[in-house]
Structure formats: structure tokens, C-alpha cells
């Protein structure tokens, strides 16, 4: 019995050692840190594009290249509160990445940057908060027919011209009526 327990324990220790060394070999991915250096200007306006920089480094400080980070914006709309993904970026050889972001609402923006270790699912994240000001309308809905320069004026001009001429004809009829009263005896009743 002693022999069995001792063998089992020895197997376990070997197993753990192998596991630990395996983990140690895979070390850098497991032990990276995500740090954010933000050079976001103090005042941002709605509609401006800013770059949110992020840098990834391993536990030993070496830059982490080719890692994908996901950016989320905390938002609330129509009674739903949550996070909307606003972009992804891949780190370059210096371990840095930046996301071009265009704030669309004034107020405080809370951005969470997340890095998921591939294959292990561990999530590293960091948040940053900044303020945005501004209130200019970005979208303008402009339906309708609008022919610059002419539009309705031309139509009105044409219609007015035609009715003026008809009015002139009406005045000619008045003239005929008036001429019947004065001058010229009736020519035997014949119209010809």
C-alpha cells in the first residue's frame, strides 16, 4: 500500500512538474499586461475622429505583436444598457495599436478595451473615460424635390404668362362688346 501511494504521489508530482513547465513555456501569452496610454485631447467634439491608442506588453515587458484587441463603448439606448463594440485593432511590432473612433454623443464616454488570450480565453481589460462636447447635427434629412435655381418659379412664370394672355383675350371681348354700342350700323343682320 505504501508502495502504491508513493507511486501515485510520484506520478502526480511528475505530472504537475510537466504541467508547470508547459505552462512556463507558454508563459508570455498567459502573463501579458494591457496598458493604455491615452493622449486623447482634453476636449473632443462630437464628429471628430480621435485615435485611442493601446499598447500590449508581455509580463517581461516585451511588446506583444499581432494581438487583437476589441474596443467597447458603454451606452444606453431605448431602455437597453450595455456595451456596443466600436472596433478592433491589431498590435504592430511595438505592441501598439490604435483605433480611430468618432464619438457620436456628447458627455462622458467609457471605453473598455479587451484582450482575449487566444486559446486560453483569459480576458485582460482596461477602461478609459473621456469627455466629449459638441452638439452639431451630423445627419440632415433633406427629402423633397429641389431644383436649384428654377424650382417652382419657372412653373409659376409659365402659368402666369398663359393666364395673362387669356386675360388679354377677355379684354378683347370686352372691346368687341363696347364697339357694338358705338359706331357702325348693323350690316343687314348678317354676321358675315
Amino acid at each position: 500500500m505504501n508502495l502504491i501511494t508513493r507511486r501515485a504521489a510520484w506520478a502526480a508530482i511528475v505530472f504537475l512538474a510537466v504541467g508547470a513547465s508547459a505552462v512556463a513555456l507558454a508563459g508570455p501569452a498567459f502573463a501579458s499586461h494591457v496598458s493604455v496610454r491615452t493622449t486623447v485631447p482634453a476636449e473632443m467634439t462630437v464628429g471628430d475622429t480621435v485615435r485611442i491608442p493601446v499598447a500590449l506588453s508581455a509580463a517581461d515587458g516585451a511588446p506583444l505583436q499581432g494581438a487583437t484587441v476589441v474596443f467597447y463603448l458603454h451606452a444606453s439606448f431605448a431602455g437597453v444598457v450595455g456595451e456596443a463594440e466600436i472596433g478592433r485593432a491589431v498590435t504592430d511590432e511595438t505592441g501598439a495599436a490604435a483605433l480611430p473612433y468618432r464619438p457620436r454623443l456628447a458627455g462622458q464616454h467609457e471605453i473598455r478595451i479587451e484582450y482575449v488570450t487566444p486559446g486560453q480565453g483569459a480576458v485582460e481589460e482596461v477602461s478609459t473615460v473621456f469627455d466629449v462636447i459638441g452638439g452639431e447635427q451630423l445627419y440632415r434629412s433633406a427629402p423633397g424635390i429641389d431644383i436649384p435655381g428654377l424650382n417652382v418659379g419657372l412653373l409659376i412664370a409659365v402659368v402666369a404668362a398663359v393666364w395673362t394672355i387669356l386675360f388679354g383675350v377677355a379684354l378683347l371681348l370686352v372691346a368687341i362688346a363696347r364697339a357694338g354700342g358705338e359706331g357702325g350700323a348693323p350690316g343687314g343682320g348678317e354676321a358675315g
Binding site: 412653373l155 398663359v162 394672355i165 368687341i176 354700342g181 359706331g183 357702325g184 358675315g192
Partner: protein, 455 residues
């Protein structure tokens, strides 16, 4: 000279006859037409009570017989423009005896056409919104503008050349007719005595109107076509619609004129003035416009059919083969080819032949308007089964009432106003007699012959 006065006398008697004597047939006809109109009024009251659900129109095919008839009547109204104005501008003398009838048709057709738009409205009680809230960018407003302008111009153009004839009526009928008639003629003749100044004003007025009314008429049916062409429906989305509709309008106008001419000629014995020559010449014009319509149809069909865009294949199938096949082929063969054949064959180049051709054309043009409206709306816009449309008794009753109103107004016109432009026909006749070197057509070289026949 004696022959001339006798001829003149006969002309005036012919013009005055309808007003002087009214037979039983007239009253019977009026009674019948009033009955048809009365039935239409009843049908409309049902529609007002229950809503447009009493028609066959539904969401997918939302226009039908009413709009087709509206376009048809507005098209007919171009009879006057062509005969009265275009031929007057080109100084075609032969048109003179028929100008008055053509102008009658124009005014009456416009009135009937406009009423069909009102009948088609879902809320006729709000029709004044069109004037209070009207949007200049809407094709319907363009319609309203164009049709009111054309109606005003047509009524003026009917009235102005009629003034000397109304004066004739006033003078010849005074004391021998009812008081209201006497008063009417005195009023509308606006003191015409025929002096130089009046003649000059009349000439100017007619000259201005005959030039003005041509662009107005062209614009009217163009904007009517734009009610369809300003939408995105596949069969309607064509730049050709304006010209196509104007050509079709003049075409159907000529046909209706031939029919009305034939009827009035028989009813009021106008054979001496409205001769076979008039029917043949109008038949030629009709054949020419049939040729133009064939060209327009070929243009449309080939340019769409060559490419077979989405929806076009469906449209072609329903036009040529399935849903509308019989109607469309009747329109093509009976309405476009037959008039040309009838005008070219010597055997049918006479009054009955031309009247037959005109009847075919009128029917075919109404069918063509109906096909444009209904087949255009039937092409499915999204993936659904195509709908079907069949007019109900209410719609047919309104169509009958509209045609009856058209006939009734013309009938009443002939009893009140001179149906022939007496003074113009007389002037043409004298001008022709004064030029013995010009060969005269058979109808006009017979003062002696007519005397001999004794009227």
C-alpha cells in the same frame, strides 16, 4: 349673286334648323341619356356611402377604370385643338365646317374627364384641399393647373369664333323663339354688329387663341402622362410617355370627331357642308396618327424588350400572352393597323368606312388607357402573387354615365348653339368662288345643282 345668296340662305337655314324645330327623337334621346346619367348618380351615391370598396380597385391595383376613363376623356379633348387650331394655323380650308363640332367635343370632354378624377377620390369632401394645401411639385397639381387652363382656353376658343353666328341667331330668331333663348343670344352675342373694329378685335382674339391653345393642349396631356411617368413603376418609367400620350390624344380625338360628325351630319342634314371629303381627310389624319402610335409603341416595346430588365418580362407576358392579351392585340390590330388599312383601301375610303375605323380607334384607345393603368400597377413590386382587377357594376355604371353625359351635353349644345361655323364657311365659300382658277372639290361647285334640287 342670286346663287350665292341662295347658298347662303340655305347654309343659315341649316344652321338654324336644330334650334327652330325639335322632334320627338331628340326628346327620346335626352330622356334615355338622362336615365343613364341618373343610374350613374345612383351608383356614385352607393360609392359615397360605402367607400371605394364597391369598386374593383384594391391596394395592389389602386387605380382602374376611373383613371383610365379620365385619361381617355382628356385625350378626346384634343380633337378641338387639332382641327380648330392646328389646321387653322396651317390654313387648311377644308376643316371649316367641322371646327365647331370639334370645339364642342373639346369642352365637353374636358368637363367629363375632370369629373372622373373627382369620382376616383377616396375623400371627395376634401377636394378643396388641393387648392388650400396644393404642392406645386405634385403631378396632380400640374394636372389641375393644366386642365383648368385648357378648359378656360377651350371655352374661350369655342365662344369667340361663335360670336358672329350667335349674332346671326340673335337676329334671325328674335321674336320667333322663347324669351330665354332670345335673351341668351342677345347676351352671348355681346353686341356683335360686324363693324370693322369688332372684326379686327375678333381676328386678333382668334389669332392669339389658336396659337396659344396648341402648347396648352400639348402640355395638358403631357402632364396627365406624367402622373404615371413620375412614378417608379416599370411599365410607366419611360421618358417617352409625354409624347406618346399627346399623339394618342390627338389620335383618339380625331376618331371621336369622326363619330360625332357622322351622327350630327345625319341628324341635322349637314351633308352639303360636311361631305365625304371631310371624313376621308380626317381618316387620312387618323391613319397618319395611327402610324405615329405604331412608331411610339415599337419604340417602347423594343427598347424595353431588348434588355428585359426586371419586371419587363412579366409585363410583356401579361400584355402579349396572358392577362391582357386579347385586349392588347385588339388595340394593336383593331386600333392601330385597321385604321390605316381602312384609309388606304378605296373600298372603305368613304363615310361608313371611316366611321367604322373611328369606332375601332375610340374603343381601342379606351382599352389602351385601361391597359396602361391596370397592367402598369399589376407588375409585382415585391415577391408576392400578382393581384387581379375587374371593374364592378359601379365602375361600369359610372363609365356609361360619363359617356352619356358627354353625349347629352353635345346634344344640348346642338340645340342651343350653331353647329356649323356659318360665317367661316360662308367666307370660305365666297373666297373659293372668287377664284375660278382653282379647281373646286365636287361638294362646293354646286350652287346651281343645289338650286336645281330645290330646297
Amino acid at each position: 349673286m342670286a346663287a350665292l345668296s341662295a347658298w347662303q340662305e340655305r347654309l343659315e337655314e341649316t344652321a338654324l334648323a336644330p334650334v327652330r324645330r325639335t322632334g320627338l327623337r331628340y326628346w327620346a334621346l335626352v330622356a334615355f341619356l338622362l336615365a343613364v346619367i341618373g343610374w350613374g348618380v345612383y351608383a356614385y351615391s352607393i360609392q359615397l356611402r360605402d367607400g371605394l370598396i364597391v369598386t374593383g380597385m384594391r391596394d395592389r391595383i389602386s387605380w382602374g377604370l376611373y383613371i383610365a376613363t379620365f385619361v381617355f376623356f382628356i385625350g378626346i379633348s384634343h380633337a378641338g385643338t387639332l382641327i380648330s387650331a392646328i389646321l387653322r394655323v396651317s390654313q387648311a380650308r377644308w376643316r371649316t365646317p367641322v371646327t365647331r363640332m370639334a370645339e364642342f367635343i373639346t369642352v365637353v370632354a374636358l368637363v367629363c374627364g375632370a369629373s372622373f378624377v373627382i369620382i376616383d377620390l377616396g375623400r371627395p369632401d376634401r377636394v378643396l384641399n388641393v387648392f388650400v394645401y396644393g404642392r406645386w411639385q405634385s403631378p396632380i397639381i400640374w394636372d389641375v393647373l393644366a386642365i383648368t387652363t385648357y378648359l378656360t382656353a377651350s371655352i374661350t376658343y369655342l365662344f369667340v369664333p361663335m360670336i358672329p353666328d350667335l349674332a346671326l341667331f340673335r337676329d334671325r330668331l328674335s321674336g320667333r323663339t322663347s324669351r330665354w333663348r332670345g335673351w341668351l343670344y342677345r347676351a352671348v352675342a355681346i353686341g356683335w354688329v360686324g363693324n370693322v373694329a369688332q372684326r379686327r378685335s375678333l381676328g386678333t382674339a382668334i389669332g392669339v387663341l389658336m396659337i396659344l391653345i396648341i402648347p396648352i393642349a400639348v402640355s395638358v396631356h403631357t402632364v396627365v402622362s406624367w402622373v404615371f411617368a413620375m412614378t417608379l413603376r416599370v411599365p410607366w418609367n419611360s421618358a417617352l410617355f409625354g409624347a406618346f400620350f399627346v399623339a394618342g390624344a390627338i389620335f383618339s380625338g380625331i376618331a371621336m370627331l369622326i363619330i360625332v360628325m357622322a351622327i350630327l351630319r345625319r341628324a341635322y342634314s349637314l351633308q352639303e357642308y360636311v361631305t365625304e371629303k371631310h371624313f376621308v381627310y380626317l381618316g387620312y389624319l387618323m391613319a397618319a396618327f395611327a402610324g405615329i402610335m405604331i412608331y411610339a409603341n415599337i419604340s417602347e416595346l423594343i427598347t424595353h424588350g431588348y434588355k428585359m430588365e426586371e419586371g419587363v418580362e412579366f409585363q410583356f407576358r401579361q400584355l402579349f400572352l396572358t392577362q391582357f392579351g386579347p385586349l392588347f392585340w385588339f388595340y394593336l390590330l383593331g386600333g392601330l393597323v385597321a385604321p390605316i388599312v381602312l384609309a388606304l383601301l378605296p373600298r372603305t375610303r368613304n363615310v361608313p368606312g371611316m366611321v367604322l375605323a373611328a369606332g375601332l380607334v375610340t374603343t381601342a384607345m379606351w382599352i389602351e388607357r385601361y391597359i396602361i393603368v391596370v397592367s402598369g400597377l399589376r407588375v409585382p413590386l415585391m415577391p408576392y402573387e400578382p393581384a387581379s382587377y375587374a371593374p364592378t357594376w359601379v365602375e361600369w355604371s359610372m363609365l356609361a354615365a360619363g359617356l352619356a353625359l358627354f353625349a347629352l351635353l353635345i346634344t344640348i349644345f346642338t340645340k342651343v348653339f350653331p353647329i356649323i361655323a356659318v360665317w367661316e364657311v360662308a367666307e370660305d365659300h365666297e373666297a373659293m368662288l372668287a377664284r375660278p382658277d382653282i379647281a373646286r372639290p365636287a361638294a362646293l361647285k354646286t350652287p346651281e345643282l343645289a338650286e336645281g334640287a330645290g330646297r
